[in-house]
Symmetry: C2
Subunit: 612 residues, 2 copies
Amino acid sequence: MCGIVAYVGHREACPLVLKGLKRLEYRGYDSAGVALLNGEGLNVYKKKGKVADLEKELAGKELTATIGMGHTRWATHGEPNDINAHPHYSDNGKLAIIHNGIIENYATLKENLIRKGHEFRSQTDSEVLIHFIEEIQKHTCCSLEEAVRQALQEVVGAYAIVVMSEDDPTQLIAARKGSPLVIGVGDGEFFMASDATPIIEYTKDVVYLNDYEVAVIKDGELKVMTLDNTQTTPYIQKVELELEAIEKGGFDHFMLKEIFEQPRSIADSMRGRVKADEGHLVLGGLRDYLDQLASSKRIVIVGCGTSWHAGLVAEYIFEELARIPVEVEYASEFRYRNPIIAERDVVIAISQSGETADTLAAIELAKSKGATIFGVCNVVGSSIARATHAGAYTHAGPEIGVASTKAFTAQVTVLTLMALSAAKRKGTISDTLFRQLLAELEALPAKVEKVLEGAERIKEIAYIFTYARNFIYLGRGLNFPVALEGALKLKEISYIHAEGYPAAEMKHGPIALIDEDMPVVFIATKDSSYEKVVSNIQEVKARKGRVIAIATEGETQLQSMVDFVIEIPKVHDILMPLISVIPLQLLAYYVAVMRGRNVDQPRNLAKSVTVE
Amino acid sequence: MCGIVAYVGHREACPLVLKGLKRLEYRGYDSAGVALLNGEGLNVYKKKGKVADLEKELAGKELTATIGMGHTRWATHGEPNDINAHPHYSDNGKLAIIHNGIIENYATLKENLIRKGHEFRSQTDSEVLIHFIEEIQKHTCCSLEEAVRQALQEVVGAYAIVVMSEDDPTQLIAARKGSPLVIGVGDGEFFMASDATPIIEYTKDVVYLNDYEVAVIKDGELKVMTLDNTQTTPYIQKVELELEAIEKGGFDHFMLKEIFEQPRSIADSMRGRVKADEGHLVLGGLRDYLDQLASSKRIVIVGCGTSWHAGLVAEYIFEELARIPVEVEYASEFRYRNPIIAERDVVIAISQSGETADTLAAIELAKSKGATIFGVCNVVGSSIARATHAGAYTHAGPEIGVASTKAFTAQVTVLTLMALSAAKRKGTISDTLFRQLLAELEALPAKVEKVLEGAERIKEIAYIFTYARNFIYLGRGLNFPVALEGALKLKEISYIHAEGYPAAEMKHGPIALIDEDMPVVFIATKDSSYEKVVSNIQEVKARKGRVIAIATEGETQLQSMVDFVIEIPKVHDILMPLISVIPLQLLAYYVAVMRGRNVDQPRNLAKSVTVE
């Protein structure tokens, strides 16, 4: 996690860096800091809290500088406070570093440095790294870039770093392994950031730094080399991101904006891919690998958090339509086992940011075992998109709210298209059903719109449950992962302990939690498991639980049985999660707002998890 | 759920039935009742609450009778109260029924009966059934046994029932489908019950009624026939259960007794199967099917609750040792999909009671698709044990506490033995490792004993967290399912909302819940994922969470990092769950006791879930 920004050129660095940090706050926001270099020397200003708190702290200070860097933090080592905030100085104060990632062997390095007389101000692993660089430079009298390279060869872990030195006001040195870093190339000026959003106002020409590469900007020139000092030619590409896509557009929060964008984002994820009237479905990124997908003996899906939930939905769909056994794994668990990957096994990796560290590591492991990897990412050109053999972008547009919403529905849509393509190729789906599902997919955005029209009703229900301490979410079949996702949303932004379960598992333990204080959200749509879900509702009502049911419109049986009904339009069972998840997103959003939570930047979280 | 008991013979029925119900309270205990037939007619006495409450209610009443029946309930339809308690009368009050199960089409039947003038006192499905039987008898003038048979042919659902009639003080009519029923055959007397525990004091000769069978006891004779009226010969067998095995033996609760029995129950589950010094491992029940297991292309494990957790542990072990891909499914989810079962796929079903309705249904589905089914059950002769092709009993002895403890460790032990057998046969395990694991298995009971010696320390920690509102349990690899199991134990008996997660998933959402009020239990034993777990602990400590770590003895790094350390002996990674789960069982137990909970009979729960 953590967001980093750096600038060198002719503009005022401080406001530019601060503005960039605000764009990156989705990556972490428990403390922030900047380093500026000018006639006064190399000065670091930092503060616990959000970038806005840092900004207040800086108000009125004389901060003119044309080179600087900044950091917004998601704590891994050491609690969030002023001292642990970045940038960190070296021992003599002449070097400063910002770092995104984890240095796993920092304890050993730190011990050695302490023995050599280094004193540390913070508990962070990052401070250890800059001291280590300083020590190498002092010891071997080499250049700073050489010291950075040598230091990084000793480091175990993941990082994107930028280093500044008091001795050279034209120089920024950056490097990455595992954490993303984009370099913006302007006219006599350079930008660096964790993603392109702080850069696009100034230039669309960017270089994505690769793992094990070091970038040195010095005297207006950019040089890229590998850790073992082989020079490489930086590949400059155009970034296709527009400014308005990353601003709020009249909504109170990015999350709400993104929930309401879903009719469009779902449509975007199908654009150019589906033509129902012609029975046409093409996923360009899959074309050369579709046979491999369709003939696979087993699919392993890896992901984390919301992406893992999208994987669980996809499991049902692939098994049902394409008759291929699917296993869904937590990326973090998969990568530390010795997983069984056989010939003709396919791995699908899901990640909104395309930078999720655990998922990326899972891909590398699966690749090393000879698997074919498909990626489902939202961010074009991201590490995961580049690491996979084939894939399909979700095209949901930038997602800024930390709690994922439109990325989830776009992931499920794209995975459904993949399953349909495989089923069609394999011949496991009838032409009638294939065409029916394509038609229903095309009609889906309008139905999502209809669910969104009911937002006021959901807001009223949210009001009633504002002060609930716990929540349980239950569903069966395709709606079981939706229950997990609904619970996760509430957890993330309201800090209410919410948990999802397959409805029938409740009686094997969790039902002990049910009493008159416990709200239970049932996804009880009219599908093949409807009658069974109704039995489960009765078991909860018999224990006086308060039930909110997500039901298919026109449904009457539930009205008298439960406390609150939220109606959603009828769709084919296979597509139900795309509709049934929407009210749960809204419910979580409104509860969190009423509790006064910072919806877009919930505590402790970060948008893209680039540490393990 | 629900427990049923009935008696006809020469003894006093009422105390015998009440004593039997107490033995069955693990099956449900939200209300209880008895029906007694004597010169005064057919009288029903019932009460919300436990059997002890009913007993108080009955004190001082004149209740002499030599035929009677009783019921302890776990509510499915209608809240637990006096009226919904069983037995239920027919419309004219001349018939009474006790029922365990669910009548799914009760609403339709009820509507028809109301139209015919029936009046219902309760909201239960069971009352509908006895009215329906009465209606058939009245309408067709047939015998009661004929009316029962006809009624059951119309019924959709699961049941074990006993029916009594005011007209015949020598007659009990019973039937089963899906819910268990045992008939004890004495000298001129008969017993009926949901399991053998109420019977063994009086006779060891029992008949296990099969699905779709009706038993009629009349004038001292037992007759068994099928629903379509073909007479069958009841198979009388000896039950091998001793009385002391089902009593508390000096412990405050069955759960505590069962936790402390684990050194013995784990040893029992290996007895006669493992001889480490000879490198010998034989599972008798597997012998004819071992090749099939070892050569399987894919294993699907099905279970519910704690058994599902045992399945997750087994997934790691089978994949690691035998290199067979394993998928673990909730039985309730598996059975309502169209699961993909290919040739050479094997299904392993896990259930303590061997009566779990969802697991039984999953087995039937898998069988219909041609899979070979292995069972891992604790109760000998149970429905699941009989429905599978092969299997291994866990031999943990009767488990009475509703929260499963010794059954879990016995399941994991037996599944480990199965994986070792398969690996050995397949040649995927070295002889050295095979012998090492056998030796470590033999040494395991002594190590469990050592963990149990630390119970006082765990009690102290439990005291500190008595009033916690929430808990999070985290582990990686084999300890991830242990985290789930630890959380489930606490949930079940203390009603604290506890949730388990793979440690690395925390930062994808649940970490938002962490603040200084949140206790987090980490299973941080010295194994291959230890370093990564330490990083996750630091992430939690950085947010001021209170950390209890289960650590390997001699470990020093964690002492300064976390709030409380519970040390456990070192074992091979593969066997770790068998040790690491023990402190979590104790922690849950002591927290629940300090909160004043009814540990052996937590609210809303029942031991064996024989409804869907």
